[in-house]
Structures are given as structure tokens and as C-alpha cells.
Subunit: 319 residues, 4 copies
């Protein structure tokens, strides 16, 4: 028995890698998976999640279907990144169905069951988590940790020049989680560096099933990889959350944080008050300012070697 | 047995009058009351609701506690309008407690129980309703009608020059309900006219309990009444929804509607496309435009005489 | 010698009608015309203005070319309303050129020359006027009156559901003029009613040149007229300003006014604080609020009969 | 005779240092100075500029007074940074007055006089420059270079967590200049590094007038310096522009750039499309995207040693 982890996903290639990692990790007990609209439609991300569990023969893990759209605005999707159905690779048809609860209801039930032993790791748009917190404001205090993959505190965005995809897809949900959830925000600041080496991808490509399928999840469009990382190596954004839960590969710093929910060019951007400029009275620097309290922890440094080791150890479990 | 009605309230003086009306109405069966932060804190609006039920000896009606804050922004409150605790008048202490479900969970359960027989009437900020729809997107199609008191489609606001209080307090929730709920929007367009005559207030002031308490709910600050209506007569905004459920006193027109969720001066305002200007392509008039479909019904005319009759008939039930 | 009037236009059919009116009016001395991008490109609106002056044999009136785009955002245009070049009708080629000053420089010079005798009437996007005020903050106090056609204080918009074209095309300029110009705002509140009767249009259609050309300026697209006025009669928005300068046909009320400059659905809308809700401290109603001072006069009532008389008297001058 | 340079300033301590540098530089001919509201009121920044010229016995340089407020919003000021009058140090009373032209008129005249030989260096809010471009859209093509100190493309802000002071004070002007001016943007990305050593400040503190006065311009509030740079050394933001004009100390990269003009938390922030994500069609990454063209050059690297040498060489000219 290990750490109880609930995964909230929009599977998605890197979500699938995260699932693979967490299901393989020794000290992790995946208590359930909740799905959300994001990389693709809710139906696709749910079906993909069920198929990934099927692939790894882990249909015992309950899946709960969540929000089919963001809190306030229309969904957008990222199929061009993740493939037509939101994921690449030959996946088995699922033989199981989601449980008869919504993601939000399932999350609340897991909080009831596991309380302070529960870690929630959200690696899609934060709609389900925001709904759960809105329905149960005590949730953040009742659990162990809330991790999220999303945002960008010190570097540029990947969907607009200033916004990361998960935050851009549902900024209102991200804003709410930032206000009330005191999350561990694992953003592009560290995940952009979380690339795996071509040798590793080659190795699992040549292995036997299910690794041949897994290898395809590492196969992002060339143009995207080149644009973002200057080379044909994919960054496994969602996997960084898993690696930190498994092996503490990140350093964090706490800040006052906001998420831009305007209609303007900064929609979805993270406002991170690095200098402690913001005041309880106004947005302007002042000598006797009353600094706003931190609202979350931002991952700032990543141990890349250890990240690659954990990816390798967990993925090769399926060899 | 009458029409099944679930009331979502932020009690508040006019919410209390609505409760009095609905509990007294012959053809209405109040299946429950859900509470929300708005006129005052959630604790106050819940306590006020329980006390109102106590006053009318109707503690059999279940009360479910809902959202303690708006979806995305901080709450504001309107105690100065409704009194320090959000309501005026001497109310009995409550002897009962809310049920062990959140408003959202209770709403979903009532939809399960009553389906197409259920009318939901929301007369506070729309946080609970937006959460229920987000958790259960089929909700609007499963019930009979969704009424809301809020907004202003053709006239000015009462909290900012362009925004009505309930929409201004949680514009993101109002926006979501407008997008997915196809509500009957009962806004200031009609409720500003829904005044009661001083003679009626005098009459119940002189009656016996519980009407002496009820009479105080009609006692809005003089300055407010004068500013809004040019005379010392209160408009009973929330009561209009009740009167229409009871006696069909409103005419409606359907429009494409949006709610402004920006940080700007129009936050909380209703965008009502009266001329059918809006296009699926862009916000600009064009000859071959593809008009956007209606998203709700806006109350446009009110039968004031009948409104006053219904108020009188239901309130005097307690005489 | 009559009242000195400088016209700022984006000619445009109703701008051309205004020009015709003002040039014909006995007590008006048109000291110059400045042009702005709006109904069409600056080149078109300038060329149209020169051609209109040519048509009426008034090439003595100086024309100064102004802003080719709004203050902050890209221009949009309304050629579908006004015709391909921004105006309908067979116009003579112009034989003259604009003066060697920009509109803003010309405006400042006219203020120098005429001071308190000068009325400025702006009936396009307010870019030139905002620039002139920004360059010369004392301008509003130096002149007699600043009229503008634009906005909508109490009714709906004509370009979006809440915004009138001139304000929507350059909300930042409109906002600046509202803050510093204390204008007479002649908006859709009155101009929507300023229709002319089909008999009048028929009459000038059958007259001799130049009235045959003038008659075409009254010929708006059927669909537009039907949508806005429910009948095939055009409203001569810009002409209302002229008729009020000539004959005082409007009643005004002063209010605190703002213009929405957000990217949201209310961009370009007028915030008109009818109830005096707004406070110097915050946007929320409060008992001891410190009401914001009026920033302009809004035209609220129009004498339609007198409007039609003035149109007729001035236009038939060319018979 | 050297490079013709027009300085647009909101003097301000670092503006004063820039003036000192440019007046002392061998190959620079300061053709005039225009003033703008920013660090303090327009009256203060103008008076400070005149006094600085008096201090250096350079009252031959013409000063033109510019915008007393930002384009669209109210001014804010930064007196707490720069001292009560916007500048520190004992300055002589000025014996001269500004010229009888506004900054915008003066700028346009200098373009007429010097054309391609003219460099404009704007180191305050960009109000005057935006007005000049609005009045004369060809201006950017007519001159040699447009430098500005302002913004932050890759790092945090100094007035809000994401906005630099000059851009935050007038984002609408900064937006316009970014769209039409193709500026050399010298932002916090490089100016935060542009500190001078305590030894240098000590040296000029101990020198004779006017250097005793100049030394006080380096004396920023301790708390500010510590907050921003972690040590009691001031960064001379405006001086970096001067040092680059004199000695080419910066490397630039060209990008598509926008300035956030919303009312939200990112107001005044620079949107810098480092990855070339933005599309002519929409704000979302896409495989066959049509990248937006660069709109300006961003200073990315600074030769700090050379910066300090230039500061020293020019300032010690007054020894
Ligand atoms: Ca994901
Ligand atoms: Ca209410
Ligand atoms: Ca016009
Ligand atoms: Ca400066």
C-alpha cells in the first residue's frame, strides 16, 4: 500500500504516460481517475483513459467522467498536438465503463474515504477541481496535497505567448483553484525542461507490447517539438507531476498568484508576484505596502536526471 | 399537490416575501430551499431561511446550504439594503438545521425525484445553479422551467449603472446559466415596476403575527426607494418570480443573451441582442449574417394589478 | 454671418446630408471640415467630403484630413451600410485638395481663430477630437459647444447589441472625449427616431440636380432599415446634430458617463449613471455615497416634426 | 556635429542621468527635449527638465511641454520612487520657459528638420510619441530610430507583477507605438541589470558641483533597491537607452509584440511572441499557422561593463 493518489486527466499522450508511471510506481496507490474535457472532448478523453487502463490490465481502477466544458467559456481542444482522438498509438477497446458518479462527486467521495492520505494530481484543465472546491470549500484542507500541471510563472506560454494550455482552456477554474486550493503548481517553468532522450524512446519502440503503444505517446509533431525545444525531443509535461510524487524531483517557492480571466491577450496567464509588489490596497508599489499572502507553491527547479530515471524505471516495468 | 418548486435564495427581505408567497400558494409544493451567498453571507442567508420557515411553522421544508462565495471572484454583499443580518424583522431562532447535502447535491437529487415536474426558481446570485448545471449538463432539459430573478435587458442596473445585483455578484455563474440553462430571466425590466402600495404595507403592519414581521420585509431604506422608484414604495423583485409561477403575470420574448464577465465598467451587464445583430462569425452587423440562436426568455411586460393581487392573496393567508 | 461651426465627419451618407444641411443653413458659417476614418477609409471619407463640397459648389470650405485609424485598435468600416466607397450617389470628381494641415492641427487653429464663437460637431469616430483634446487640454473650455453623434445611453446599440458604430469604432477616443470634453452626446436614444418620411425622399428624387444625388443618400439598405426601425424609412443620425444646432430640437440631461474600452462584449457601450449609483470610492451603491459629477449632456427627447421641417427647409434650398 | 537626438522624458532621476549623459556625449546633438506626465505631474517633470538644463548650463536646448495625462486613463505617478517633485537633489531654479509648441508639435517639426538623421529616445510613458504617430502616421518611416525605455518581455514587472512603470502608466499609448512605431524596446529585461557600483556613486558624491547634485539622482530608496536587485545598488533604467545610442551596448531580437490594455491584472504587460505561436487567424497554435510579423526589436543582452564605462565617461565630463 502506498500513497493514495487520485488523477484528474484529459488523456492525452502525456496524461497516458503519467497513468503508466503512476500505475507502475511501487509506493503509489491510484484510487481512481477522473476525466475532463481538454486535449480533446470529454468523450474522447474518457474513452482514452479507459483504453489506457485496459492496455495495462488495470480495469480495476475506477474512472469517473467529469466536465464536458470549461466553467464559463467554450472549449477549444488540442487534437493537432495529441492526435485525432486526443491520443496516438493503437489502444485496445475498453471493456469497462465509467462509474455512476460525476468526477466531482467521485472526488468528494475519495476525500471522505482517504482524507489526509489523499493526493490529488490534476493534469488537465482545472474544471473538475474548481467544481469540487466550489461544492466543498474545505477540500484543500482535508487532503494531503493538490498538484497541478499547468501555467507558467516565469517563462512564456505554449498556447498563447503568455498562457499554458490547461490554464488557457479554463482560466476561471484555474483562478478559483489558485485562490482556494494552495496548489503545487507544476508549470512550463519546469516541464519545458522535462524532455526524454531519443535513446529511451527508441528503446521502448523496439520492446514488446504494451511498450510499442507507449512509445507512440512520446511521438509529438516534429514542428511542435522543434518550435518549443529547438530539437526533436518531447517534453512530458504531465509526467513531471508523477515523477515529483514518486521521487521529489522539484523545488518549490511560494508566491501570491493570480490567473488572468479577461478577454484580452493575457487570458490564462499566471500573475506571479515575485517581488512582493502587490498590496492589499492597490496594484501599485508603495513603501508601506501590506504584501499579499502566498496562494500557492510554484515548481522552480527540476532534477532532470532523476526525472528521466523515474520515467525509465516506471515505464520499463511494463517490459 | 401542486407544481413542484425548488427555491434557490439568498434571504434577504424579498426572498423572504417570495418564501411566504410560495408556501401559501395553493397550487405550489415547495420541495426544498437552497441557499447561497449574496445579500449577506451564506451563514446569514441560511439562518434567515431557516428562521422564515420557523416563523411560518414550515420546518418540514428541507433547506440545503450552498455556495459560500461566487464562482470566480470574491463576494460583496448588500447588507445595507437588507439589514445587518441580510434581513429585517424579528425572526424566531431556528430549531432545525440544513440537510446533510450541499445545495448542488440537493438540486440534483430533486431533479432525480421530480424531473419534468420540477420548477427551479433562483432569486439570488446564480452560483448554485451554475454548479448544478456544470455537474449535470442535462439538468435544463430534465426539468420543467428554470426561473431566475436577475439582470436587466432593456433598462439600467441597480448595483452599477448597467448591472443588477444578482448578476453583478456572480457574473460568471450568470453567464454559464445563460449559455446552458435557457432560463426565464425576470429582471429589472419588470421587477422595477413590481411595487406594492403603501396601503397594503400599512394593512399587514397592523395585523397580528406573523404578519407584523412580514411587514418589516417591505421596509426598504427610504433613500434607496426614492432613488430607484421616485417614491417611498418598495419593488419586491424576487416576488415577481413567485407571482408568475402562481399566476402567469409576465410576457416573455426570447433573445440571444450574454453576460459581461470582464473586469470593466460593464461587469455583470446583460448583452441582449434585440435587433439580431450578432453573427456567428463576428460581433459586427452584416447583410448575410447568420443570427445567433436565442438563449433565454426575457420578461418584458408585467400585469401589475395581478401582481399586487397575488401578493395580497398569498401574504394575507397568514392573517 | 452666423454661428461658426467646424464639422468632423466620416462621410458617409448621413454625414453628407449633415454637410448639405449646414451649408444651406442661414445662421451657420461652416469654417471647415475635418475628416476621419470610420464609415470607410480616410481616403474615401476625405474624397467623399471634397466631392460633396464640389457638388454644392462650396469648394471654398477648407477640408483637413485627419486620423486614418482609431487611437488604439484597428479600424473596421461600414461600407455595407454606406456603399462601396462609403457613400452612395453620383458625385462629381473633386477639383480641390485638403489643406496642408492635419485635422487636429486645423481644429487647434480654428480654436485660436474663433474661440468661444466656435461650435465643433463631430459625427464620426472621435479620433480627431480626442487627439485635439490630448494636444490641447484647454480646448473644451475655449469653445462654445462640442456636439457629437454617437453612443447610446438608454437604448440598444446598432453595431453590437450594446454599442453604437462611432463609439464602437474608437471607444478609447470616445472615452477620452467623455472624460475631458463635456460633450452634447446625440446618440441613438434620439437619432433612431430621426426618420424622414418616404414622401420627402420621393420629392427630392424627382427634383433636379444636385437633389437627385442627395436623394440617394437617404437610400439605406432595406434590410437594415427594417431591422432597426421596422419600416423602410431611414434614420438620419448625423443630421440630428445639425438640426439641433440650427433649431434646438433636442432636450438634454446631464449624467456621469463612461465608455467601455474592454475587449469584452460591451466594448464601445456607454455607461450612463442614471440613478447616481456610482461613488468616488467604488462601483457599488452605498447610503453615504459621494456621487460622481456629470461628465456630459445626453440628448433625451427630440422634436421630430421640427427635425423634418429643418431637413426639408435646408435640403430644399438646393432646389 | 553628431547624431541628432530628441529626448522625450518624465524627469525623474534616471531621466536626469540620461540628460546628463546625452548632453555630455561627444557624438550626440540633443536637438530638444519633450516632457510628459509620468514619474510626477507634467508641471513637475517639465520644471525638473528645465532645471537640469540650467544645472548643466545648457538652456540653449529647447524644451517642449507635452501630455499632462495618459491617452485614455487617469495618471498615477511615482513620486515615492523619485522624490516629492519627481526628482531628488538640489536643483537651480530655471530661468527659461518651454517653447510655444506642444511636445507633439515640436516632435513633428524636428522630423521635418532632421528626417532620417533624427533619433527619438522616449523614456517616460509613451503618450507624446503615440500622439505624434497618430497625427503623423509616416513618422516612424521618416526618422532614423525610435528608442523607448519601457516594458518587460521576458521578465517580471516593477509596478505590477507583470507590468513595467512606463507601459503601465499609459498602456494604450504603448500599444499604439508597438503597432506602428517598430521601436527598439529597452525594457527591464536589460535595464534591471544596469546597476552602477557604489564606488562610482561615492566618487561623484565627493566631487564638486554639479556632480554633488547628480550623485543624488543615484540615491533610490533602499527598500526599492533591495526588493528589486537584492542589494543597495540602483539600476539606471533610462540611462541604458543613452548608453546604447552612444556605444551600442545592447543586442536585440525582433518579435511580434502587443501591450495588454485590459482592466485586468495584466494591464500594461508586454505580450512577446517568442515561439511564433500567434496566428493571423486566431490566438491558438496550429500546424499551418501564418505567423504574425515582428513589430519591434527587444533588447535582450547588455554589455554591463561598457554600460558602466559610458556612464562614467559622460558623467565625469562635468567634473
Ligand atoms: Ca493533460
Ligand atoms: Ca434575492
Ligand atoms: Ca458619420
Ligand atoms: Ca523616465
Amino acid at each position: 500500500m502506498g500513497r493514495k493518489v487520485l488523477l484528474d486527466v484529459d488523456t492525452g499522450n502525456d496524461d497516458a504516460i503519467l497513468l503508466a508511471m503512476m500505475l507502475a510506481a511501487e509506493d503509489v496507490d491510484v484510487v481512481g481517475v477522473t476525466t475532463v474535457s481538454g486535449n480533446s472532448t470529454l468523450n474522447n478523453t474518457t474513452q482514452n483513459t479507459l483504453s489506457v487502463l485496459e492496455l495495462f490490465d488495470r480495469t480495476d481502477v475506477p474512472v469517473a467522467k467529469g466536465a464536458e466544458r470549461p466553467l464559463v467559456r467554450e472549449p477549444c481542444g488540442a487534437e493537432w498536438v495529441h492526435g485525432e482522438n486526443g491520443i496516438r498509438g493503437d489502444l485496445p477497446a475498453s471493456t469497462t465503463s465509467p462509474v455512476d458518479q460525476t468526477a466531482m462527486e467521485f472526488i468528494c467521495d475519495q476525500v471522505n474515504s482517504h482524507g489526509k492520505h489523499l493526493t490529488i494530481a490534476a493534469v488537465g484543465p482545472l474544471t473538475n477541481i474548481a467544481l469540487a472546491i466550489a461544492n466543498r470549500p474545505t477540500l484543500p484542507d482535508e487532503i494531503d496535497e493538490l498538484y497541478l500541471m499547468g501555467g507558467s510563472a516565469h517563462t512564456h506560454g505554449n498556447t498563447t505567448p503568455v498562457a499554458e494550455f490547461n490554464f488557457w482552456e479554463d482560466p476561471e477554474a484555474a483562478s478559483r483553484v489558485m485562490q482556494d486550493g494552495f496548489p503545487r503548481m507544476v508549470g512550463l517553468d519546469v516541464t519545458n525542461q522535462a524532455t526524454v532522450l531519443p535513446e529511451f524512446v527508441d528503446k521502448i519502440e523496439d520492446a514488446s507490447p504494451p511498450l510499442t503503444t507507449v512509445s507512440q505517446w512520446f511521438d509529438y509533431p516534429d514542428e511542435l517539438m522543434k518550435m518549443e525545444y529547438g530539437a526533436k525531443v518531447p517534453a512530458i509535461h504531465d509526467g513531471v507531476v508523477g515523477a515529483d510524487i514518486i521521487g521529489n524531483i522539484l523545488d518549490y517557492e511560494s508566491y501570491y498568484l493570480e490567473v488572468d480571466t479577461t478577454d484580452g491577450p493575457s487570458r490564462g496567464a499566471v500573475i506571479c508576484d515575485v517581488l512582493g509588489i502587490m498590496d492589499t490596497e492597490m496594484n501599485v508599489i508603495s513603501e508601506d505596502r501590506n504584501r499579499l499572502s502566498p496562494t500557492g507553491n510554484v515548481a522552480e527547479n527540476i532534477d532532470i536526471d532523476r526525472f528521466r530515471e523515474i520515467i525509465s524505471e516506471t515505464i520499463l516495468y511494463y517490459n
